[in-house]
C-alpha cells in the first residue's frame, strides 16, 4: 500500500488489467480463447489439408481412427478422418473459423442495434420507450431457440440468415440493459451539466451517455457471444443453420452423429470438444469481466 502512494497513479487500463488477471482461471481462459481465435484466423495456414478441396481428399482414407497415417503415408490424421476421408483436424480449424465469425459478427451487430434502441428508449422516454420495451418484453418471453427456429424455418438456411436470426434473438437483451443504464445515468448531474451547456442531444447521447452505459453491455455481449456460438451450433446440428458448403462445428458434429452409434466416435467428438472449449473459455472470460467491471464487487 505504501509503495503505491509514492508511485505514479495507475491508469484505469492498468488497474483493470491487474484486477482482471488476478484470477488465474480467467487468465488461463483468456489464453485459451486467444489461441482458439488465432487458430481460427490462421486456419488456412495451420490446417494440414484444405478440407473443402475435394481433390485433396482420398476416399480410401475414409473413417480412419485418430493417429493413423494415410494410405500413401503423406498425411498423419491426428484426429481421424470422416466419411469422405477428410482430415478432422483441418475440418475443425475451418469449422471453428465459421463458428467464431458467426458468433462475433452477430453479437457485434446486435449490440449496436440493441444499444441504439435502448439508449433511444431511455433518453427519449414516453411513447418511443414503451413501444420499444414492449416489443423487447414480448420477445424475451419466448426462448431464443424458438425465435431462431421460426425465422429459419420461414427463411431457410444460409450464413446471412443465421446471422440475422442470431441478431433477432439477442438485440432485446442489449436494448433492455442499455435502457436501464441510460435511465440511471439520465438523472445524474453530469447529464444536466451537458444539457446546461447547450450541447446537441446527439452529442449528449454519443459522447456523454454512451460511454457511461457501456460496462454492463460489454459483460452481456461477452456472455452472448458464447450463447450465440452455442445456438448456432445447435441450429446447424438440427440442419437449420448453415449450408453444407460452410460447415461450422455444429454441422461437423451433426455429420458425425450417424457414425456415433457404430462406435466411430471421433467424427463428432473432436468438433464437440472444440465447441465446448470455445464456449467454456468465453464464459469464463465473461464471468471475470463481470466481476471486474461491476463496481459493487470491485476490490473484493
Amino acid at each position: 500500500m505504501m509503495t503505491r502512494m509514492v508511485r505514479q497513479p495507475d491508469t484505469p487500463l492498468v488497474r483493470f488489467a491487474r484486477a482482471y488477471f488476478a484470477s488465474r482461471i480467467a487468465a488461463a481462459a483468456s489464453a485459451v480463447l486467444l489461441l482458439l481465435i488465432l487458430a481460427a484466423l490462421c486456419a488456412p495456414l495451420l490446417a494440414p489439408q484444405n478440407p473443402y478441396d475435394l481433390m485433396a481428399l482420398d476416399i480410401m482414407d475414409s473413417r480412419l481412427a485418430p493417429g493413423t497415417r494415410s494410405g500413401d503415408g503423406r498425411m498423419h490424421y491426428l484426429m481421424g478422418t470422416d466419411e469422405q476421408g477428410r482430415d478432422m483436424l483441418s475440418a475443425i480449424l475451418y469449422g471453428l473459423r465459421i463458428s467464431i465469425a458467426v458468433g462475433f459478427a452477430s453479437t457485434a451487430v446486435a449490440l449496436v442495434i440493441g444499444l441504439a434502441l435502448g439508449l433511444l428508449a431511455g433518453y427519449a422516454g414516453g411513447r418511443v420507450d414503451s413501444l420499444i420495451m414492449r416489443v423487447a418484453d414480448i420477445q424475451l418471453s419466448f426462448p431464443p431457440i424458438l425465435i431462431a427456429l421460426v425465422l429459419l424455418a420461414v427463411s431457410g438456411p444460409g450464413v446471412g440468415k443465421i446471422i440475422v436470426a442470431l441478431i433477432a434473438v439477442q438485440w432485446a437483451y442489449y436494448a433492455r440493459t442499455a435502457r436501464s443504464a441510460a435511465l440511471v445515468e439520465r438523472g445524474k448531474e453530469y447529464m444536466e451539466a451537458a444539457a446546461g451547456l447547450g450541447l446537441s442531444p446527439a452529442r449528449i447521447v454519443l459522447r456523454h451517455l454512451l460511454p457511461n452505459c457501456l460496462p454492463p453491455l460489454i459483460v452481456i455481449a461477452a456472455l452472448q457471444v458464447a450463447s450465440a456460438i452455442s445456438l448456432e451450433a445447435t441450429l446447424s446440428f438440427l440442419g437449420l443453420g448453415l449450408p453444407v458448403t460452410e460447415p461450422s462445428l455444429g454441422l461437423l458434429i451433426s455429420n458425425g452423429f450417424q457414425y456415433l452409434l457404430s462406435g466411430t466416435y471421433w467424427i463428432s467428438f473432436y468438433p464437440g470438444l472444440a465447441l465446448l472449449l470455445t464456449v467454456a473459455a468465453i464464459n469464463l472470460v465473461a464471468d471475470q469481466l463481470r466481476d471486474v467491471l461491476n463496481p459493487r464487487l470491485q476490490g473484493v
Binding site: 418471453s141 419466448f142 451450433a233 446440428f237 438440427l238 452423429f257 464437440g272 465446448l276 464456449v279
Partner: protein, 324 residues
C-alpha cells in the same frame, strides 16, 4: 385484474397476428405458394382443390384473411409426407413431447433439490464444491452435445441404455405412454436427463441460495432452540420456505422445456412434436411447419398468460393493474 386480463389478452392476440403475418409472409409471399403448399406429385384435381381452398388465385390481403380463417378453424393444410391434416399429425405427437417434458421436470426436482440442499448445507465440503462446478457445466454446455455424450457413454460404450425411440408403450385412454413399461422407462431415462440438465443446474442454484439464506433466519434458530432434529428442521421448515421460488421458476421453465425438446428429440430420435418439425423442415413439408409454428406460439402465449395471472394470485405484491 379484469383490465389487466383484457389488456393482456389483446396483447396476446396481437402477438399471434404478428406471428401469423410473419409465417404467412414467409410461406406465401416469398416464392410461389402453389409450389409450397401443393405437393410436387399432386394430381391436377388435387392441385385445383388446394388452390380453391387457400384462395391462391385471390389478391394477397384476401389470401391472408383466408389463411387466418382456415387457421382459426384448425385447417392448416395437409402434410405432403403423410397426407393427413397437419394439425392432427402434430397433436398425435404431442403426448410423447409432454411425457418427455414432465419426466424432465420430475428429474430436475428429484435431483436438483437434494443436490442443492447438500451444496447449501455443506458449501465447503468436496461434495458441495463438486456439485456447484457441475451445475456451472449444466448451464454452459450445449444440450445437443451433452445428448451425444450420453449416447456415446451409456448406449455405445457401456451398452446400458437404448439410444433412440420410445420403446414399448402402453395405451392409456388411447394415448401411448412409455413410462408404464420397463422398456419404455429405459428409453425415457437418457432423453429426459438430457432435457432436464439445464433445469437441474437451475434448481441446484436456487435451492442452494435459498438454503443458505434460510439458515440465517430466526425461525431456524428458534427451531434449533426448541431442540428439533436437524433432519426435521431442514426437511420441513427450510424446505417449505425455499420451495415457493423453485416452483415458480420451474413453472416458467416449462415452456422452454417444450421448445428445447426439439433438440433432445432429434438427438434421441424421440417421436415427439420437436422431431416432427425438424423432419418436416428437412423434407420441406411446409403445411406441417406452418401448423407447428402457429401451434407452439399459441401454446407459449397461453403459458405466459397463465404464469402472469398465477403470479399475481400467488404474490399480492405484484400489481397487475398498472403493468410496467
Amino acid at each position: 385484474m379484469l383490465i389487466f386480463l383484457i389488456r393482456r389478452l389483446l396483447q396476446s392476440v396481437l402477438v399471434l397476428l404478428v406471428m401469423s403475418l410473419l409465417v404467412f409472409a414467409g410461406v406465401y409471399a416469398i416464392g410461389n405458394p402453389v409450389d409450397i403448399l401443393i405437393s410436387p406429385d399432386a394430381n391436377q384435381a388435387e392441385r385445383a382443390r388446394i388452390v380453391a381452398a387457400f384462395g391462391l388465385d385471390q389478391p394477397l390481403w384476401r389470401q391472408y384473411l383466408l389463411f387466418l380463417q382456415n387457421a382459426a378453424g384448425g385447417n392448416l393444410g395437409r402434410s405432403f409426407a403423410f397426407s393427413t391434416p397437419a394439425l392432427a399429425l402434430i397433436l398425435e405427437r404431442f403426448p410423447a413431447t409432454m411425457e418427455l417434458a414432465v419426466a424432465a421436470m420430475l428429474l430436475s426436482v428429484g435431483l436438483g433439490i437434494p443436490l442443492g440442499l447438500l451444496a447449501g448445507l455443506k458449501p465447503r465440503s468436496l461434495a458441495g464444491k463438486t456439485i456447484m462446478t457441475v451445475s456451472v457445466l449444466g448451464f454452459s454446455l450445449p444440450t445437443f452435445w451433452v445428448g451425444l455424450m450420453l449416447i456415446m457413454v451409456f448406449a455405445v460404450k457401456l451398452g446400458w441404455l437404448p439410444s433412440s425411440g420410445r420403446g414399448e408403450t402402453v395405451d392409456v385412454f388411447g394415448v401411448p405412454l412409455s413410462f408404464l413399461t420397463w422398456d419404455g422407462l429405459r428409453h425415457l431415462l437418457l432423453p429426459s436427463l438430457n432435457l432436464a440438465l439445464f433445469n437441474i443446474a437451475l434448481v441446484i442454484r436456487l435451492t442452494r441460495a435459498g438454503a443458505q439464506e434460510a439458515l440465517q433466519q430466526d425461525y431456524v434458530r428458534f427451531a434449533r432452540a426448541k431442540g428439533l432434529s436437524n433432519g426435521r428442521i431442514i426437511g420441513v421448515h427450510v424446505l417449505k420456505n425455499i420451495l415457493i421460488p423453485i416452483v415458480t421458476v420451474l413453472a416458467l421453465q416449462f415452456g422452454s422445456l417444450i421448445a428445447f425438446a426439439i433438440v433432445t428429440e432429434t438427438v434421441f430420435a424421440w417421436p415427439g412434436m420437436g422431431k416432427l418439425i425438424i423432419d418436416s423442415i428437412r423434407v420441406l413439408d411446409r403445411p406441417v411447419i406452418v401448423a407447428y409454428l402457429m401451434l407452439i406460439v399459441t401454446l407459449f402465449i397461453v403459458i405466459n398468460l397463465v404464469v402472469d395471472v398465477l403470479y399475481s394470485l400467488l404474490d399480492p405484491r405484484v400489481r397487475l393493474g398498472d403493468s410496467r
